[in-house]
């Protein structure tokens, strides 16, 4: 019996093989990936903004160099991901348009403001920590170009988390005021970081299909749990407190139970009503528009060079 294209595709996935750009794939698989990869790329680009806010005010040259390198990495990660998405047939400018018109989403965490220097530490430690938790399993995603992009991203991301934790550690070993600043940053970033894993499994209708396609390897709640279990001892090492009265170690499982996430806040920010949604989008649009003349000039130059070359050939052959 001849297997249908869908069956052949699913068999390949079940054998844990990779799908490459020119292979046949169901439209819904392609659409899911385009949405996920482009959202991921947008998150990397918008993620530069909260941290860029502190480059000119970093407390030392060492911190400034580290932060600049990190922000530059985020731009690079965005580019790896956009190029992975393009292999699925979506144009770069289409994705930019979707971001700039608010049609496409990006990670809600970047709609929170960076009020103090400690926020840069908390972002590296928690936000990049949560991102790593999400991204490591994506290195085994069934779509080849996405998985390969994630391998590069994960390699670079570990430096991000370490520089963040070092900032936190320095503050926590500093004056009482500095330690209070670190505590305040943890208070503000903890819950939004837990929200980065997305809705509870029961509220996440796409998870099942994404797991059947080997795009996702673990559910939102599984990854969130791992993140909590990893972060609690780290906070203890810093000597600051996670702002959750319900946080408790289950002696039997070795896992922490934790309080209910404020899902109203989560959906408010997703829908565009977070503290910085408008600022972030405006900054992105401005950067894109301000760069337009550079792209146009580079293109005009390239065309002129091309014409010159053709003219020289014409003269020689005349």
């Amino acid at each position: 019996m001849e297997l249908s294209l869908e069956q052949k595709f699913q068999d390949k996935i079940d054998r844990d093989e990779r799908i490459e750009p020119r292979d046949w794939m169901p439209d819904s698989y392609r659409k899911t990936l385009v949405r996920q990869i482009s959202q991921h790329a947008h998150s990397e680009l918008v993620g530069m903004l909260p941290e860029g806010n502190w480059i000119s005010r970093a407390p030392s040259l060492r911190r400034k160099l580290g932060l600049m390198a990190k922000v530059q990495d985020e731009a690079g990660h965005g580019l790896y991901l956009y190029s992975a998405a393009e292999t699925l047939g979506v144009e770069r400018d289409t994705m930019f348009d979707q971001l700039h018109t608010g049609k496409a989403k990006y990670s809600s965490i970047f709609n929170y403001p960076t009020l103090t220097w400690a926020d840069i530490g908390a972002i590296g430690w928690l936000v990049d920590g949560a991102a790593i938790m999400n991204q490591v399993p994506l290195c085994r995603c069934s779509y080849g170009p996405y998985a390969r992009a994630m391998v590069r991203v994960c390699k670079e991301e570990s430096f991000h988390q370490r520089q963040g934790f070092e900032i936190m550690l320095t503050l926590c070993n500093g004056t009482p005021e500095q330690k209070a600043m670190a505590q305040d940053a943890l208070n503000r970033w903890w819950w939004p970081s837990l929200m980065m894993f997305g809705p509870n499994d029961a509220e996440s209708p796409n998870t099942k299909q994404s797991m059947a396609w080997n795009i996702k390897r673990f559910t939102n709640d599984e990854l969130r749990q791992r993140f909590v279990d990893m972060s609690v001892p780290q906070a203890a090492l810093l000597g600051i407190n996670i702002p959750d009265a319900d946080l408790k170690l289950d002696e039997e499982t070795g896992k922490y139970s934790f309080g209910e996430i404020n899902w109203d806040e989560f959906w408010q920010v997703v829908k565009g009503h977070g503290p910085c949604n408008k600022d972030r989008l405006a900054a992105r649009v401005k950067a894109h528009e301000d760069g337009a003349w550079v792209r146009e000039a580079a293109m005009a130059y390239a065309e002129k060079q091309e014409q010159k070359k053709l003219n020289t050939i014409a003269v020689k052959t005349a």
Binding site: D73, A84, E86, R295, A298, M299, A302
Partner: protein, 94 residues
């Protein structure tokens, strides 16, 4: 005018003695700019010592849907492999 700059595929040689290897793609106005952008995007941590760029539209690729038939002729040619030939165990260094 197309708003997208042309797309280039990027190949990097990580060190002398190794092949250039495909690492991804990027947009640039021309090949020279593609090399400069590739330096910034793909070699921020000394990942390479040589970069090749080629416009994506200039690549011709085999069709994955034909791959069964396309590669089938090699399947029954086991005599192209050294293990096809029976030699006694006493023969050394072969």
């Amino acid at each position: 005018m197309n708003k997208n700059l042309p797309l280039y595929e990027i190949f990097i040689r990580s060190k002398n003695g190794l092949h250039h290897k495909h690492v991804g793609s990027l947009h640039a106005s021309d090949a020279q700019n593609a090399i400069m952008n590739a330096r910034d995007v793909y070699t921020r941590r000394q990942e390479g010592i040589s970069i090749w760029v080629i416009e994506s539209k200039d690549i011709t690729a085999s069709n994955p849907e034909d791959s069964d038939a396309f590669y089938a002729p090699a399947e029954d040619k086991v005599y192209r492999h050294p293990t096809f030939y029976d030699l006694p165990d006493e023969v050394k260094h072969m």
